[in-house]
C-alpha cells in the first residue's frame, strides 16, 4: 500500500518518491535552499538576483534529474533497508551531478571547482531532506496516527441510531419481514462502524455500506428521500478509507432531506478518470433549514483529515454550494490491492473471528448475500 503511513514506526524509512506530496516538498525545500544560498553568496541584495538566476541554471536540471531517477527507482529503493537506501540516494545524487556537469561543461565551459560545489550542495540537500522525512514519518508514525485515526473515525449520529430503532420497532407488528431486513442492515452497518477502520478497503464495500445506510433512512423518511446512484463506471477495487462516503451521505440526508417536508434527491456519482477516483455527492441545499445548520463541518473535516493521513496531497475534498444544491467532490489516487495479497474472494458466509483481514472479508461476503436475498 503506497499510502503515506508507513508500517514500521521506529525504523527510519525512505519516503515514497512517487508521492506528489514528497515531490512537492523536495521541490520547495531545494529551491528555497538555493535562493538562501544565492543571497548569502552575493553578500548584497542587488547582486543576489543575478546570483540566484545563475544558481537556478544548474539547480533546476539537477533537481529534476535526481527526482526522475528516484521516481524510476522507487519500487526498488523501497525494498532496501534505510541505510543502504540512503546510500543509494546519495550515490544517485553524486552520479547525476557528475553527468550533468559533464554535459553542461561541454556546452559551455564551467569554472573549475563547480563540480565539487554542485555535489556538496546536492549531498547536503539529500541529508537534510532525508532527516526531515524521517522526522515527518515519526510524527505520523502509526502510534500517533492510529490514535488520531481512531479519534477521527466517523461516528454515526445517535439521532440516526435511535430513530432507526424506532422505525424498525414500528415495523415489527405490521411487516415483520421488512423489520428483519432492516435489523440485518443495521447490524452490518454497525459492524463496520465499530470495527477497526484504519486500513484502506475496496470502494465496492463502501458503496454497499452506503446502500444499506440509505435503505434505513428510506424506511424512516419514505418518499421524502430519493437516491440517484451513478456507479456504472466505478472502479470497485479502488482502495479508499473506510467510511469515506457514509458520513457525507448522512450529512446529505440530515441537512438536505430532513429539514423539508418536500421530497428531495441525494445523488452519488462515482467514476475513474485519469488514474484518479472521483466521488461527487449532491443534495438539495435548504436555506430555511430550521435548527439543522450547526455541526455540518464536523463530518467534512473528519473525512478530509483522514484522506490527508492516507494520501497526503494526492487526495482532495472540496465542497461548494450552487443555487439549490450542496456538492462534495472527493478525488483520490486510484490504487488497488497488490496482486500477491489478493487471494481471491473467500467463501465464508458468516462473520469469522480472527484476523482483521478475515473479519472484513467475512463482512463483505455477507453484504453480498443480503443484497442478493433482497433482489
Amino acid at each position: 500500500m503506497a499510502a503515506i503511513i508507513r508500517q514500521n514506526p521506529n525504523q527510519p524509512a525512505l519516503p515514497d518518491f512517487r508521492n506528489m506530496g514528497t515531490i512537492l516538498r523536495v521541490l520547495v525545500a531545494v529551491n528555497l535552499g538555493a535562493a538562501v544560498l544565492a543571497i548569502a553568496r552575493a553578500g548584497q541584495l542587488s547582486s543576489a538576483y543575478a546570483e540566484w538566476i545563475e544558481a537556478t541554471g544548474f539547480v533546476e536540471p539537477y533537481l529534476l534529474l535526481v527526482l526522475a531517477v528516484l521516481w524510476a527507482a522507487s519500487p526498488w529503493l523501497s525494498r532496501l533497508s534505510f541505510g543502504v537506501g540512503a546510500g543509494m540516494v546519495a550515490l544517485v545524487t553524486v552520479v547525476c551531478g557528475y553527468l550533468l556537469h559533464e554535459v553542461m561543461h561541454r556546452l559551455a565551459p564551467l569554472a573549475p571547482g563547480t563540480l565539487v560545489r554542485w555535489i556538496v550542495f546536492g549531498l547536503v540537500a539529500v541529508a537534510i531532506l532525508l532527516f526531515y522525512f524521517h522526522l515527518r514519518a515519526r510524527a505520523l508514525s502509526p502510534a500517533i496516527t492510529e490514535a488520531r485515526l481512531q479519534a477521527l473515525q466517523a461516528r454515526i449520529r445517535p439521532h440516526f441510531l435511535f430513530n432507526s430503532i424506532n422505525a424498525v420497532l414500528s415495523l415489527v407488528r405490521s411487516d415483520p419481514k421488512r423489520a428483519e431486513v432492516a435489523l440485518e442492515d443495521m447490524a452490518d452497518l454497525f459492524r463496520v462502524l465499530m470495527r477497526d477502520n484504519r486500513n484502506l478497503a475496496p470502494l465496492e464495500e463502501e458503496v454497499e455500506l452506503c446502500r444499506q445506510y440509505l435503505e434505513l433512512e428510506k424506511l424512516r423518511l419514505g418518499d421524502r428521500l430519493t437516491v440517484d446512484w451513478n456507479v456504472k463506471s466505478m472502479p470497485g477495487d479502488a482502495l479508499v478509507p473506510p467510511l469515506m462516503l457514509q458520513p457525507l451521505l448522512e450529512n446529505a440526508v440530515y441537512h438536505g432531506i430532513e429539514p423539508s417536508s418536500m421530497p428531495g434527491t441525494v445523488s452519488i456519482n462515482l467514476f475513474l478518470s485519469r488514474g484518479e477516483v472521483h466521488a461527487i455527492l449532491k443534495n438539495p441545499y435548504r436555506t430555511t433549514g430550521g435548527n439543522h445548520h450547526s455541526g455540518n463541518k464536523m463530518a467534512l473535516a473528519n473525512v478530509r483529515e483522514r484522506l490527508a493521513l492516507h494520501f497526503d496531497a494526492e487526495a482532495s475534498l472540496e465542497s461548494r454550494v450552487t443555487k439549490d444544491a450542496y456538492e462534495v467532490h472527493i478525488r483520490i489516487p486510484y490504487r488497488t490491492e497488490p496482486a500477491n495479497s489478493a487471494t481471491g474472494v473467500p467463501t465464508v458466509t458468516g462473520p469469522m473471528p480472527g484476523a482483521d483481514d478475515d473479519r472484513q472479508r467475512g463482512v463483505s461476503a455477507r453484504l453480498g448475500m443480503t443484497e442478493a436475498a433482497r433482489a
Binding site: L169, R220, G290
Partner: protein, 256 residues
Amino acid sequence: MPDSPLRVLIVDDEAPARRRLRDLLEDCAAALPLAIIGEAQHGREALELLQNAPVDLVLTDIHMPDMDGVELARHLLKLSHPPVVIFTTAFHEHAVQAFEVNAVDYLMKPIRVQRLLGALQKVPRLKPVSAEKLSQLPTTARRFLSVTERSRVVLVPVEDVVYLKAELKYITIRTSQREYLLEESLTRLETEFGARFVRVHRNCLAARDHIRGFERRVNDDGDAHWEVLLAGVQETLPVSRRQQSVVREMGRETAA
C-alpha cells in the same frame, strides 16, 4: 370528567414513528380510555387540525420540517383550550437537559408502553407548559408568529413581516397584505429573531430584507430626520435619533 376518553393527537414527520406511537396508544387503551383524534406530519398541519378538533394531549416530535415541536407548543397556547403537550425525541442531548431543568414532560424514543401509560395517566393533572418555559428550550427562532382572530389561531410567516411596531398593549405586525395584532414584547422578538430585524425606533423593528432605502425629511419646524422606505408597503417609518447609525450601516448596503 373521568369518563370521557382522553383525546390524543400524534405529530411526527416520520411515518414509522407515527405508526409506532399509534400501536402503543392502542395498547394503552385497555388500561385507560383514549381516542386518537388524528395524526399530523408537522406543526403547521397539527395546528390546522386542532382548530376544528380540540384534544387533551398532543404528543409531538421535536425535530420536524416546516414547524418544529417547540414552536408548535408555543402556538398551541393561543388556542382557547390549549392541550397538554408531551414531547417525544429520539436523541437531543441539549433538549433533554433543558426539559429536565424546566420540568417539561418528554418521552424518549423508542418509547416504552409503560412510560407512555404513566404519562397518559398524568395528563388530567397537567397544565400546558407556559410560553415562558417554552422559550427557555433550545430552539431556533420561530418560523411563524401566531395571532388569535375570532377564536382561531392565524399563522403569519416571519419572512412576510415587513415591520413590527409596538403600540400600547399590542404589537402591530405589518405584512404587505395587512396588519395583525400580537401580544408579545418587542424586546423579546428582537432577541429571538436577531439579524432578521433591525431596530429603527424605540417602538419599531423593520425587516432588513424589506428595507429599500432611506430618505431625509425636514419637518415644518426645521428638524431633519431619516425615514425608512419599505418594499411592499406605502408608509414609511421614522428613524429615531438614537438609531441613526442604522442608516449609515444599512445605507451602504442598499447603495451597493
